[in-house]
C-alpha cells in the first residue's frame, strides 16, 4: 500500500488533520520553515486542535532555542550529529512569546542568489533530470548559473538541456560521480557552489536559503534538509523510516572543531553533516584543499565523496552548517533490488572513505570505526532484526555486510591507497571559458 505525503502548515492554525485510507507521512511547516515529520496509521487520525497545537509548541520551542536572538545561534552537533540543545535558563524564563518572535522564525528573505553556481551531475536519467531542472528554473532567487554535468557516454542529457536556455551543459565522459562533480566545480564561476542530484526537486526558496546561510556565517559548507518526495513502495519506506533516510532533523546544527576533536579518536561521524543531494561549498575551499576524491563516490568505491570533503574541512580547521531551511525533495529508490544495491554501495563507499581519511591524516579513529564499531553495529542491527522480527531489516543488513567486506579489501590494496585522486581546482578567473 502506498503512503500519502501531506504537507501541513501549522502557522495556519489548522484544527484537524483527517484520516485517509492509507498511512500518511506528515511534514509539518511554519510557513516556509520545516519543523519536522511524523508518520501515522489511519487509526491514529484524526489529529485535532489540542494535538496540532501541542505539536506546534514542541517544534517551535526547538526552533526558538536554536534560532532566536539571545540563544547563542545554531546549536553545536553532538557526536551523533544531533543538535545539542541547552538554552540558558534565564533567557527561557524571561522570554516573552510575541507574534514578532514567531514571524521572525520564517522571515521571508529573498536574497539575490547571483553568487551561486548550481551543479547537477546526471547519468542516463533524462526524465528525472527534466523535473529537476524545472524546479531549478522557478527559484525565488534564481542562481547565477546552472551547470549540468553529463556523466553518460552517450550524452543522454544533452537534448534535455536544450530546453533550458539558462543551463550550461558539460560532458564528463570518464565515469564516476566525483569526476563529474570536479568537472562542474572547475567550470563554475561563482564564489558559492551548490550540488543537487538529478532525482531531486528543490524547494522554490532553496538557492536563496543557501546564499543566506553563507552570508550569515563563516562556514565552508552548508547542507540542507532532504524530504522524501514519495513513499509509494516498501523499499522507499524502509529507506526513510528504518535506515533514517538522508536525516530528518529540522534544527540548524553547527559541525565545528568541538564536534571534530571530541569524536576524532573514534572516527568522526561526518556523514551526519548532510547529504550529497543537498550540499554547498565556498568555491575557494576547493582551491585550497582540492576537489572530490575520485576514488570515492558512485561509479568508483560507491559513495561518501561528500562526507570525505566534510572530513577534510573539519580536519583543516573549518566548520560546516546544517541549515534545514534549504529544502529539497528526493525520489528514493523504488525497488528492493535498487535499495539493496544502494545500501551495499553506501557501506562499501563508507569504508573506502574511512581508509582515505585515515591515510590522509593518520587519524586512527577511522580504522577503529571499520574494525570495531561497524562490526558492533552489524551485531546490534542483527539483534534488533531478530528481537523485533524484521526480516527486511535482516536483508538490508546482509547487503551492508557485503558492502563492508568489499570496503575492507581497499585496506589491503596499497596501489589503491597510494593513488593520487584529488585534483587541484584553479580560481575561476585564471581559466579560459
Amino acid at each position: 500500500m502506498s503512503w500519502d505525503i501531506v504537507h501541513l502548515d501549522l502557522k495556519q492554525a489548522p484544527t484537524i488533520l483527517d484520516a485517509g485510507a492509507s498511512p500518511v507521512y506528515v511534514v509539518y511547516w511554519w510557513g516556509d520553515l520545516p519543523l519536522g515529520a511524523h508518520a501515522y496509521a489511519p487509526e491514529e487520525l484524526p489529529l485535532r486542535r489540542d494535538r496540532l497545537l501541542a505539536l506546534a509548541a514542541g517544534f517551535l520551542a526547538e526552533q526558538v532555542a536554536s534560532r532566536s536572538p539571545g540563544f547563542g545561534g545554531p546549536p553545536l552537533a553532538r557526536y551523533d550529529g544531533q543538535a545539542l540543545m541547552q538554552p540558558p535558563l534565564a533567557q527561557v524564563r524571561d522570554l516573552r512569546v510575541t507574534s514578532a518572535l514567531l514571524s521572525e522564525l520564517e522571515r521571508p528573505v529573498h536574497p539575490d542568489a547571483d553568487e551561486l553556481s548550481v551543479i547537477v551531475c546526471t547519468r542516463d536519467r533524462p526524465r528525472p533530470l527534466r523535473t529537476c531542472l524545472n524546479a531549478l528554473s522557478v527559484q525565488n532567487a534564481p542562481p547565477g548559473e546552472i551547470l549540468v554535468v553529463d556523466n553518460s557516454s552517450g550524452r543522454t542529457a544533452a537534448s534535455v538541456c536544450l530546453d533550458f536556455p539558462r543551463v550550461r551543459y558539460l560532458h564528463e565522459p570518464s565515469p564516476g560521480l566525483s569526476r563529474a562533480r570536479n568537472c562542474g566545480v572547475a567550470a563554475s564561476t561563482r564564489p558559492l557552489v551548490a550540488f543537487t542530484d538529478d532525482d531531486v526537486e528543490v524547494h522554490e526558496r532553496w538557492s536563496g536559503e543557501i546564499v543566506r546561510a553563507f552570508q550569515a556565517s563563516d562556514v565552508e559548507s552548508v547542507t540542507g534538509l532532504v524530504i522524501p518526495a514519495t513513499l509509494d513502495s516498501e523499499a522507499q519506506r524502509v529507506f526513510q523510516m528504518e535506515m533514517g533516510g538522508f536525516g530528518a532533523s529540522c534544527l540548524p546544527t553547527r559541525f565545528g572543531q568541538v564536534f571534530f576533536e571530541e569524536t576524532r579518536h573514534r572516527g568522526t561521524q561526518v556523514w551526519h553533516v548532510g547529504a550529497g543531494a543537498n550540499m554547498a561549498f565556498r568555491r575557494r575551499l576547493f582551491e585550497r584543499i582540492g576537489g572530490f576524491d575520485e576514488r570515492l563516490g558512485a561509479g568508483a568505491a560507491g559513495c561518501s565523496e561528500d562526507s570525505e570533503i566534510w572530513y577534510r574541512i573539519l580536519a583543516t580547521g573549518g566548520d560546516c552548517l546544517y541549515e534545514p531551511r534549504a529544502v529539497v525533495f528526493h525520489h528514493h529508490r523504488e525497488d528492493w533490488h535498487g535499495l539493496k544495491r544502494q545500501m551495499r554501495a553506501y557501506m562499501r563507499g563508507h569504508v573506502a572513505a574511512l581508509v582515505v581519511q585515515h591515510d590522509r591524516y593518520r587519524h586512527r579513529g577511522n580504522l577503529h570505526r571499520i574494525l570495531v564499531q561497524l562490526p558492533r553495529y552489524f551485531m546490534r542491527a542483527g539483534l534488533d532484526a531478530v528481537r523485533n522480527a524484521k526480516p527486511y531489516r535482516g536483508r538490508v543488513l546482509l547487503e551492508e555486510i557485503r558492502g563492508w567486506l568489499g570496503g575492507v579489501l581497499f585496506l589491503f590494496n596499497p596501489m589503491w591507497r597510494s593513488r593520487p585522486a584529488v585534483p587541484t581546482i584553479a580560481p575561476p578567473n585564471e581559466q579560459g571559458s
Binding site: A39, R48, E62, L89, R93, M241
Partner: protein, 408 residues
C-alpha cells in the same frame, strides 16, 4: 539511605540545596507555574551540596526546552480557533481499598486539598471497602463529609472496581489505588485533558514516587518506575511502526491512576473479575481494560499533569514479588485476550514471543554484567510469565467463581 524528594518551582529564583548526612541522593519534582514538567533523580554522596550553578546547568540540559514548550503552548492557544465549550461532566473518584486505613486517610486528605478547584459539574468520592477485616477503613471513610462508603464482600480488586462502576453516578469515573496521594494539579489536569479530548474513552496519568526511602523503592524507580513521560500521549487501537500495539497495553498507563467514561465501561461489561483476584493473581486488570477500551475504537489519553505519588514496595522481597506478578498478570491477560479477541491473534502471539525474547536478552545482559539482583528480578518475571501461560487464567476464573459462590 533515603533520597530526598523535593519540589522545585522554576518560575521562582533558583537556589542550591544541601542534603542531610544520611541522605544518599535527591529526586526533584520540577514544575513550571505549578505544572509538573519533569522528574530528575540521582544518587549522590551523603550530605551532598548542590550548588546553584550546577543545578542551573542540570536544568538547562534537561528541562529548559520543556519550559519553552509550555510557554509556547500557552501563547499559541490564542492563535488557534477555540473549540466550542461543552457542558462539564460529573466525576466520581473511586478508591478501592483493603485494610489500609492510614493510607486511605492520607489519600482523602490530598483529595480534600484539591476538590475545591473542581471545574466538573459535580464531584463524588466513593470509597469501596474490599472486604476489610478491621473496621478502621469504614471509620475513616465515614468520618469525612462528602465521602460515600460501600462495602464489597468479594475479595478481589476488580470486584471492588465493578462495585464502584455500578454505584457511581458520575459521567467519568477516576480510579485511584489506596497507596497513592494526588498531586495538587491532579484534578485540574484531569479536567484539562477531558476538555481537550472529550471524545476519548479514558485518561491515564503520571505516577511518581511518594517516598524513596528504601533500596527497593529507589531501585524500582531507577528501573523506570511507572513513568510514562511528561508529554501528553494519545493512544489508539493502532500505531504505525509498532506491530504489537495495542497488545502491549501497559504503555498506556497504570491502574493506580486511570479514568474512564462510565457509560463506555458499562457497555464493555466492566472489569474482568477473574484478574486481580488478590494473592494468587495480583494483576492484569488494568491491562485488560486499557486493551478493551482501545479495541472498542476509543482513545486513551495520557496526561502528565493528572499526577499522583505512589508508595512503592518497601522491601526487595516485595519488589521481586511484584516483578513476578507482572509477568504472571501480563500473560494471564494475553491468554484471555487470545480467547476473546481472535482477530488480534497474530499480534498476541507475536507479543508473547517478543516478550520472551526481550526478557531473555535482558537476562543475558544482566548476567554478563554480573548484576545478579537485576537477573533475579528478570528471572522472577519470567517465572511468573511461564506460570501465567500454563493455565493461570483458567484457574483464576474458577477462583473468582468460588469467591462469588462463597459470598452468595
Amino acid at each position: 539511605m533515603p533520597y530526598r524528594i523535593m519540589d522545585l518551582e522554576l518560575s521562582r529564583p533558583l537556589t542550591g540545596f544541601t542534603l542531610a548526612s544520611h541522605e544518599t541522593g535527591y529526586a526533584l519534582v520540577v514544575r513550571w507555574d505549578g505544572r509538573i514538567i519533569g522528574f530528575l533523580m540521582k544518587e549522590t554522596p551523603e550530605g551532598f551540596r548542590m550548588e546553584e550553578d550546577e543545578l542551573r546547568e542540570l536544568l538547562e540540559r534537561e528541562l529548559a526546552l520543556r519550559i519553552l514548550n509550555v510557554k509556547l503552548e500557552g501563547s499559541l492557544a490564542d492563535r488557534w480557533p477555540a473549540t466550542p465549550v461543552l457542558e462539564p461532566p460529573s466525576l466520581t473518584i473511586a478508591i478501592c481499598t483493603k485494610d489500609r486505613a492510614a493510607r486511605l486517610a492520607r489519600l482523602l486528605d490530598s483529595l480534600e486539598a484539591v476538590r475545591g478547584q473542581s471545574a466538573f459539574r459535580a464531584l463524588e468520592i466513593l470509597v469501596v471497602d474490599n472486604a476489610s477485616v478491621d473496621p478502621d477503613t469504614r471509620e475513616v471513610a465515614e468520618s469525612r463529609t462528602d465521602v460515600c462508603y460501600r462495602f464489597e464482600p468479594k475479595t478481589g480488586l476488580d470486584f471492588a472496581r465493578n462495585m464502584a462502576l455500578e454505584t457511581a453516578t458520575g459521567d467519568l469515573i477516576a480510579y485511584l489505588d489506596d497507596d497513592v496521594v494526588v498531586d495538587r494539579g491532579w484534578l485540574s489536569g484531569l479536567y484539562r485533558v477531558w476538555a481537550d479530548c472529550p471524545d476519548a474513552g479514558g485518561y491515564s496519568g503520571l505516577v511518581l514516587p511518594y517516598r524513596l526511602d528504601t533500596p527497593a523503592q529507589i531501585r524500582f524507580e531507577r528501573e523506570g518506575g511507572f513513568g510514562r513521560g511528561f508529554e501528553r500521549i494519545h493512544h489508539r487501537g493502532a500505531q504505525l511502526g509498532n506491530p504489537l500495539h495495542p497488545v502491549g497495553a501497559g504503555v498506556v498507563g497504570a491502574g493506580a491512576n486511570m479514568c474512564f467514561r462510565r457509560d463506555l465501561l458499562l457497555a464493555l461489561g466492566g472489569f474482568d473479575e477473574a484478574l486481580d483476584t488478590g494473592a494468587p493473581l495480583p494483576g492484569g486488570g488494568d491491562l485488560d481494560i486499557f486493551y478493551r477500551v482501545l479495541r472498542s475504537g476509543h482513545a486513551i489519553v495520557y496526561e502528565p499533569s493528572y499526577a499522583v505519588f505512589h508508595e512503592h514496595r518497601e522491601t526487595m522481597a516485595q519488589l521481586r514479588r511484584q516483578y513476578w506478578s507482572w509477568g504472571l498478570g501480563f500473560m494471564a491477560f494475553l491468554e484471555k485476550a487470545r480467547r476473546t479477541d481472535p482477530a488480534m491473534r497474530r499480534r498476541q502471539d507475536a507479543m508473547v514471543s517478543w516478550w520472551f525474547r526481550d526478557k531473555l536478552i535482558s537476562l543475558a545482559g544482566a548476567l554478563s554484567a554480573l548484576d545478579l539482583r537485576r537477573a533475579g528480578d528478570l528471572a522472577a518475571e519470567l517465572r511468573g510469565a511461564i506460570q501465567g501461560l500454563l493455565g493461570e487464567y483458567d484457574r483464576s476464573v474458577a477462583r473468582s467463581r468460588r469467591i462469588r459462590e462463597q459470598v452468595a
